[in-house]
Amino acid sequence: MPTVRVALQVTCVNDAMFPDTGKAVVRLLRRLGVDVDFPSAQTCCGQPMVNTGYLDEAVPVVRAFVDAFAGYDAIVTPSGSCAGSARHQHSIVADRSGDPRLAAAVAETAPRTYELSELLVDVLGVTDVGAYFPHRVTYHPTCHSLRMLGVGDRPLRLLENVRGIDLVELPNATECCGFGGTFALKNADTSVAMGGDKARHVQDTGAEVLVAGDNSCLMHIGGMLSRQRAGVRVMHLAEVLAATEDSESKAPGPVVGARAEDLP
């Protein structure tokens, strides 16, 4: 395994709402021999501001990002959307700020920011992470992973190597779930109509678990599935990849997420 200084950008949504995903990334990377660091000065990638049109407001947030992650070989984030933001939107914000130092710092961090599956496959060169997850799973490729980053089939290749998994194809998989950040609030009716169709396709697969690489999209789809009492739960890709036979045997329920006590 190459020795790289890897920093975890946990994302603001995961930090405040889905800490188990961050814990799963830590556990997974340690299992692969990577000692991941968590720079505590980090906050958010700035995407909520950028995508809503508040570019000036995004400037100090992007500055906080590049300050927190300066000097690492790789920055990994369990979100296609936030990786896309760092790689493709930070330069827009920096240009607008007119600050050449910020632009230079962005040029340093942007190409080193990886979505989780990219880090695993491209940087660490693994597709079998030694996970065990004996459940029927379907996978939703989130739009920013798919189109902004072009992660392609990397997440699926990782999932295919999970032992015990029954991976089933999601109909109309590449269609947006309707989350879209503030779109979910500004155009709530349209967002719900899109989410409703996505939830129906998920149910059509008969899967127990819907997996994706972005908790924001999962919060939206999962929120709909839960309201409909659909009997499907959502899990982040990191949590499935972090699961092992050991964690499965300790699980109280039929499906276990990444639990901190399972950390080595």
Partner: protein, 496 residues
């Protein structure tokens, strides 16, 4: 005849209404999926499709970069070929030119080949006000016009109608404006098309003045190009004595050979055909053959405004193929009317604000009518990065409100979020408050997500936008960063 979009509500309101129309939802889902699949099949046949996209984008970009020169060349070539060239700054000037040409021939009616530019300027309504009837001859346009309806798609304006509805419109309205529909009209597509053909034929043979647009205008030869599927366009372009073509200034390309990638990209992207059935080209007047008086109206109507926008100017590459509409998940569910413009869907969401500015509420709502999923960019034959332009136009909307005396609630929230996210200590405090709220919700919640996590049920106020249809997980008691600090990143084996 047909209505206008003036006074339409902002997108979220119009969308909510459209979402409630189950017939519309079914018609749209069926039509967009059919044409989407067909496009994907024929595009996959072209090995060098990505190279073709690059050359298409290159042709349009080069034309736009030196637009003034190409337009002057076009004007000179057209005049040399016997056409009369007019310049129109806006819709009003363009409509007045067309009306004066029709009046000078004593015409009280014109036949029209489908044209986005004339819809954009509201030509039919302007001519009607002058006592001149404008007859649409494209089948879908005819359906919209007879139904006193609004177009809802760039290529298939009547995409929101099914064949039963079309039969009803023909039975009810054709007799009022010309040859009636036959009594035994069924809703078979071929039978409906036959009725339209009979109805239109008398108009083609009678009309002395025709109005068209153009898909492309070749500068060095002064050639206008119309691409169509039904042959009605060729009838309009060849039968009447007088032809008026209203052409957006962004339609110009430098040379005839520039048409090569465009004529390969357009049919596959729009109708999912390898080649379009009718391609008509004309340059001015040919004595004894076709129209003996040809007018070309070169239309600005906001195009130089869009051209001056560094990020947005790429929208002027658009060749109106409508591929972005057919793959857009938002368009698929709400249809075209919700966009309040003849240009709906993703391209409309950027083109309208670029052409008109964002000072009115309806236009300002359009850049937000997208989840930024990026499917539109993926299919665009001339590689318009619609998601990036959408974000840039959102910034234009936000910037237009920076001087407001009372800021919008959203601006206050965004500034507060930015302040919190600018410093990790502030974020830590915000997360502690959220964890506290989570404990309270967790204690009182009657709802839990699959897997057992407590959830907020239905919340009041702005949060109702979310919880109206979606459960929201209660925030966890401990944030990731607090867990990291407490357990030294899990190294001390501490529990969650």
């Amino acid at each position: 005849m047909s209505g206008t979009f003036v006074g339409m509500p902002a997108f979220p309101t119009a969308a909510r209404e459209a979402l409630g129309d189950t017939q519309l939802r079914r018609n749209l889902a069926h039509a967009t999926h059919t044409i989407r699949d067909k496009r994907a099949r024929v595009v996959a046949e072209v090995e060098d499709w990505e190279d073709l996209r690059l050359s298409g984008a290159g042709v349009k970009e080069a034309a736009l970069r030196d637009l003034a020169t190409h337009l002057e060349t076009l004007e000179a070539s057209l005049v040399r070929a016997g056409a009369t060239v007019h310049w129109a700054r806006d819709a009003e000037e363009a409509c007045a030119i067309v009306a004066s040409v029709a009046r000078s021939h004593g015409a009280d009616e014109v036949v029209k080949v489908k044209s986005m530019a004339t819809q954009e300027i509201g030509l039919n309504e302007a001519l009607e006000a002058e006592g001149i009837a404008a007859w649409e001859t494209d089948l879908a346009e005819l359906i919209v016009q007879l139904g006193e309806d609004l177009p809802s798609h760039i290529l298939v304006p009547a995409i929101h109608r099914n064949r039963a509805e079309i039969r009803e419109i023909f039975m009810r309205r054709m007799a009022d404006v010309g040859r009636a529909a036959p009594d035994d009209l069924t809703d078979e597509p071929a039978v409906l098309a036959g009725a339209a053909r009979e109805h239109l034929r008398e108009k083609f043979l009678r009309a002395r003045v025709a109005v068209s647009g153009a898909n492309f205008a070749v500068a060095d030869t002064g050639t206008l190009v119309v691409v169509e599927s039904e042959g009605n366009g060729r009838m309009c372009l060849t039968l009447p004595d007088v032809l008026v073509s209203v052409v957006g200034i962004e339609k110009v390309v430098a040379t005839w050979s520039d048409l090569d990638p465009m004529l390969r990209l357009l049919p596959r992207s729009s109708t999912g055909e390898r080649m379009n059935p009718y391609t008509s080209t004309w340059s001015g007047v040919t004595p004894g053959d076709g129209p003996q008086e040809v007018h070309v109206v070169l239309l600005d109507n906001g195009r130089t405004r869009a051209l001056a926008d560094d990020v947005g100017r790429q929208a002027l590459r658009c060749i109106r193929c409508s591929a972005c509409l057919n793959v857009c998940p938002v368009y698929e569910r709400v249809g075209g009317h919700a966009y309040g413009s003849v240009y709906p869907g993703p391209i409309g969401a950027i083109l309208n604000p670029l052409l008109r500015g964002v000072s009115d509420e309806q236009t300002a709502s359009l850049p937000y009518a997208s989840s930024l999923c990026g499917a539109c960019f993926e299919v665009c034959p001339v590689r318009i990065d619609i998601p990036s332009v959408l974000v840039d136009q959102r910034a234009a909307v936000v910037d237009s409100h920076r001087g407001d005396r009372v800021p919008k609630a959203e601006a206050v929230a965004m500034r507060a979020a930015a302040w919190t996210f600018s410093d990790s200590r502030r974020l830590r405090w915000a997360e502690r408050a959220s964890g506290l709220a989570g404990r309270v919700i967790g204690r009182f919640s009657r709802t839990s997500l699959p897997g057992g996590r407590p959830a907020a049920g239905r919340l009041p106020g702005p949060a109702a936008c979310w919880t109206g249809a979606r459960d929201l997980p209660a925030p966890p008691a401990e944030s990731f960063r607090e867990w990291w600090d407490r357990t030294d990143g899990g190294r001390d084996g501490g529990g969650s």
